[in-house]
């Protein structure tokens, strides 16, 4: 199979990740991290903290400001529900995934007000300039996805950060679709909180993710959403309020985090600028191969080859339902893609694809140019069926 559904999950992991995971499963010395001082507990804690340090370094954060969760959805739920309260107002965008939208809609029922920025006219880019019109006296935070999981368009993060700093708002970044594809630095990019998942472009296993807090969050009150075992202060009735324990109730997924750590090391060894260049090359090769084919409609702005984007090409073939095209790709060509709504309802409404859906091709460093060429040939053959 040619696997081009990496924006959903990177099914093909680097050998170093596979090896780390296999070795971890075979170990007999990984107990419960932070729940004792015997050798097995300490070995598990050592692995947990090594993964934490690696992730902190990766995003330019303090070790203590990285909390591990199960995925980006869990991270966003924990963070948003920990931070926001009735009376707050939040600015978000039509580009968001349901992992942002649904927690926000839940909070709306509890009295949090929401505003959503649209796409710029005749563009696939979020209109960051419109944040100014959406601003209210009680606006507390801006929540944006770094890269659209539908089109791969990257938001103007610098403009978001400038707006947030100018109005003393918190910038919360959903990096599910960007972490591991290009460099992100909490301080340089002025991000206050970042939520990531491990199983996409960080090449870790499913069930890993996290929350990273920037320096401006130090004085921001956060409440525990989940409470329970923390390994410390057992006689307190409330869960510890400090990072990372605040978001890490219960036993850590040490085996998974060993895999995530290996994924991060793989990216660091390759160098992120090289990763970005490689992904850009594969994406551009696919785009160039399909853009002029008959009946192909592409959703995304590829006019500037230098512009940063996630390795995604979103398209439709005439008015054929995306699911039908994706099914032909899977059954006739053995190519895995993702059709449908991609859990991003506002984006599909903005693009006018709510009924048709979109076929999404998404690439990883594990793909080759030969994979891309086969996918282009498949799309060509499908599109020529319409002539």
């Amino acid at each position: 199979m040619i696997y081009l559904d990496n924006a959903a999950s990177s099914a093909i992991k680097p050998d170093s990740v596979k090896k780390a995971l296999c070795q971890a499963v075979m170990r007999d010395d990984l107990g419960n991290a932070g729940r004792g001082a015997h050798e097995s507990s300490l070995r598990a804690l050592q692995e947990l903290e090594a993964a934490r340090s690696a992730v902190a370094e990766f995003f330019g954060a303090e070790d203590s400001q990285v909390a591990f969760t199960a995925n980006a959805t869990m991270s966003l739920n924990l963070l948003l529900k920990s931070l926001l309260k009735a009376g707050d107002h939040v600015i978000s965008t039509c580009s968001e995934h349901n992992s942002v939208l649904r927690p926000l809609y839940q909070l709306e029922e509890e009295g949090v007000a929401l505003s959503f920025a649209a796409l710029k006219d005749y563009s696939f880019q979020v209109d960051v300039d419109s944040f100014q019109q959406l601003l209210r006296p009680n606006t507390r935070a801006v929540v944006v996805n770094h890269a659209s999981n539908v089109t791969g368009e990257v938001i103007d993060l610098a403009a978001c950060a400038r707006f947030c700093r100018a109005h003393d708002l918190l910038l919360i970044l959903d990096a599910a679709q960007s972490a591991g594809e290009f460099s992100i630095d909490m301080e340089a990019d002025a991000i206050d909180a970042l939520c990531f998942t491990g199983h996409k472009s960080l090449y870790g296993p499913g069930g890993t993710g996290g929350i990273v807090l920037g320096s401006r969050m130090a004085d921001v009150p956060l409440k525990a959403v989940f409470s329970g075992g923390s390994g410390v202060r057992s006689f307190d009735k409330t869960h510890p309020a400090e990072m990372p324990a605040l978001f890490e109730s219960g036993t850590a997924n040490v085996l998974g985090l060993i895999g995530l750590h290996a994924g991060v090391k793989y990216l660091q060894k390759m160098d992120l600028s090289e990763v970005e260049a490689r992904l850009k090359k594969l994406t551009r090769r696919f785009y160039e191969g399909v853009k002029d084919l008959p009946a192909i409609k592409i959703y995304g702005d590829f006019s500037d080859p230098k512009r940063r984007r996630a390795p995604i090409v979103a398209l439709n073939v005439a008015d054929m339902p995306a699911g039908v095209i994706s099914d032909i790709l899977a059954t006739d060509f053995d190519i895995a893609t993702r059709p449908g709504a991609h859990c991003a309802p506002l984006m599909h409404q903005a693009l006018g694809t709510s009924d048709q859906g979109i076929v999404r091709f998404s690439f990883s460093t594990m793909n080759s140019e030969a994979d891309i060429d086969k996918a282009v040939a498949a799309v060509r053959e499908i599109s020529q069926s319409l002539i």
Partner: protein
Amino acid sequence: MKNRLQIPDFMLASFDSSHDAMHSEEASKAAGIKARLIPTPELVKAGCGLSLRMEPKVAADIARLLNEEGVKVSHWILSTTIDGVRQFIAQDSPLKAKDQDK
């Protein structure tokens, strides 16, 4: 070159859960009836993300089988091409239709 878009009519069964969808494919396979899971088309605003695709002629057999297995089908949909446009049309359960024939 084969026309990849000349897709014959097919029937879809949608489900309320992915668990039921998986069960339906396993049950069909075990009974030797050809059917496979596909993503539920966006136009079908119901059910989970997976639907069981089958030829219309085996729909009644699958409906009976799933009924015996206790797997609830949320919707039956016929996918057909009308005036060159692929359509998804809600259907009565083939089991019900068959019963009505009696």
